[in-house]
């Protein structure tokens, strides 16, 4: 099936700004789904609120565009009630880790089988460029006219500590790498987190003088290095890219199915 067959063409044109990284994330994701040949009827995409969240409308899967921060909670209900479905949960950085932070760590703790994609542009784009918990210190935003004094989360560390069994990071510059990582994340049985740095030239780039979209993407190339590479080892200021965690741990829906089976057996049904 061609990639465009996964798109709802009548939903276009999309609402993302010129140069936005989110379209590249969508591209990488659809190519991963295409490569895995998952039936469209078996995929549910659940999203929250924000620029990132609009992605669920553009794909020809079962799509659930929910409330700000709550995508993982809705997804948990879908997955738990029909464990055979593949859950894709793209979220923005504020969506996933500010208002949705509690659901994020608890979904990781349960190790429920779904793929959480944090489309990290370090800003609240849809509301006009306010800083997010992934902006970090010294950033200019409409709610930080004198620069931020807030520390940021490291998504990889946070997801790992919370119990996610697949944790990875990549960028929109590395679109093919993103596809390969997403393929592994979707195939992984458990809670997978993939952080994808995604440029917002309109708000973040403009306010912080990072240049246009291509310059911002170029920057992703310069500030990252593959996990296990010599350059990362030699330069700790670089941001690691690739798969950080990939391990087996009992998955929530599988464990619940076992529980039901043993309870029903005991009840003599």
């Amino acid at each position: 099936m061609a990639v465009q067959d996964y798109l709802r063409q009548r939903f276009f044109p999309h609402m993302w700004c010129p140069g936005c990284g989110h379209g590249i994330v969508l591209n990488s994701l659809l190519r991963a789904v295409e490569a895995l040949q998952i039936d469209k009827n078996d995929i549910v995409m659940t999203s929250g609120i924000g620029c990132s969240a609009r992605i669920s409308g553009y794909v020809d899967f079962h799509s659930l565009h929910t409330l700000h921060g709550r995508a993982l909670a809705f997804a948990t209900g879908v997955k738990m009630s029909k464990p055979g479905l593949t859950l894709l949960v793209p979220m923005g950085d504020g969506d996933a880790l500010a208002i949705g932070g509690n659901h994020f760590i608890h979904a990781a703790r349960r190790n429920i089988d779904m793929t959480a994609i944090v489309m990290n542009n370090r800003i609240y784009g849809m509301t006009g460029g306010q800083f997010s918990p992934l902006s970090g210190c010294g950033i200019k935003a409409t709610t930080a006219p004198y620069r931020t004094i807030d520390n940021d989360f490291d998504v990889v560390d946070l997801a790992t500590a919370a119990g996610a069994t697949f944790v990875a990071r990549t960028t929109t510059y590395h679109a093919k790498e993103a596809t390969e990582i997403l393929k592994k994340a979707i195939q992984h049985k458990g809670f997978s987190v993939v952080e994808i740095l995604s440029q917002c030239p309109t708000h973040f780039g403009r306010k912080n003088k990072e240049g246009d979209a291509t310059q911002m993407m170029e920057n992703y190339k310069n500030i990252t290095a593959p996990v296990g590479s010599k350059s990362l080892e030699e330069n700790p200021a670089l941001l690691g890219r690739g798969i950080f965690v990939q391990k087996e741990r009992p998955e929530y829906c599988t464990e619940y199915a076992k529980l039901v089976e043993s309870v029903m057996k005991e009840a003599g049904k």
Binding site: D42, G77, K82
Partner: protein, 382 residues
Amino acid sequence: MEKKIKFVQGNEACVEGALYAGLDFYAGYPITPSTEIAENLALRLPQSGGKFIQMEDEIASMCAIIGASLTGNKVMTATSGPGFSLKQEAIGYACMAEIPCVIANVMRGGPSTGNPTHVGQGDINQARWGTHGDHSIVALTASNHQDVFAMTVDAFNIAETYRTPVILLLDEAIGHMREKLVIPEDGEIELVERLRTSVPKGVDYRPYLPREDGRLPMSDFGGEHRYNVTGLYHDMWGFPSANPKVVNELLRHLVDKIDTNINAITRYKEHYLEDAEYILVSYGSSARSAIHMAKNRREKNERIGVLELQSIWPFPTELVREKCAKAKAVVVVEMNMGQVLAQVKAAVSKPEKVFLANRIDGKLITPSDIKRLLRVIQGRGI
């Protein structure tokens, strides 16, 4: 299932009703005084292959049941005041996206943390207007365990019929009190099952296109029809739309589908109402005291009756006006500052004849409390 007699808490009667109605999926968070609903379902649901999940918070519980409803499950959550506040945004989502679900709110004293282990009925207006924006909602209540069972079954039936969230407004006294419950045999109470679309695979399915009878057939997530569900105003395919015509028609539909069916949704009971000069309007555990008091006074030939409301929203304005038309005075008995009182005053032709017998101190209102007020109204002194 054989007819079973049980001695249970009201919260357990609610569980029995939910299971009878075909509950498949429950998500919840511990909160007094509703916790027994979660505890009993954690025990019972796996026994019949159902799903129970304790979520990380009240908001997540509400979101999870909406997700599970979309795969074709009958779903429920239970909570109390503070948790009910937290769920409001997602309840609005269920209104907007038209997702069948049942929310039990076992009311306690409020606002805020209030009086968690004591009775109150302060969430009447929150059930109606807790979420933002115009919408309509169904809220049911009950004053004894047989009715808790019946209203719980009804809540699921109404949720499926109108594709709407239904609020089950119980209270602490009902939830924790123990009394007899007869569980009906299978088939004794009619159940409304999920109405699924007959649109075949490959043909354009429009999830928000009503049939002639106004109902909207659904398609389970995971099935042949892939469609979009959103809390934004949306067209008949579920695609977001800010088109004024689409917005206007959808909001009117959301309100009308409940309000125009008020007669089908309204549930009430009459106690000694035929020739009553004084009418007590009440619901939930307050109604028990009202009924008790009316029964006692009848024995002394006082013409007192009770109109017990079992559906509070949409408020049965016509019914209240009709039943109270000949009353010398109407006394609304409730455990709040007059939330149903305001509705009754708005319903009747002589609002100056409507009085409030209430208690808001965490204690169950007693027949004596009501009697004292009634004597004052009657000009007989306390």
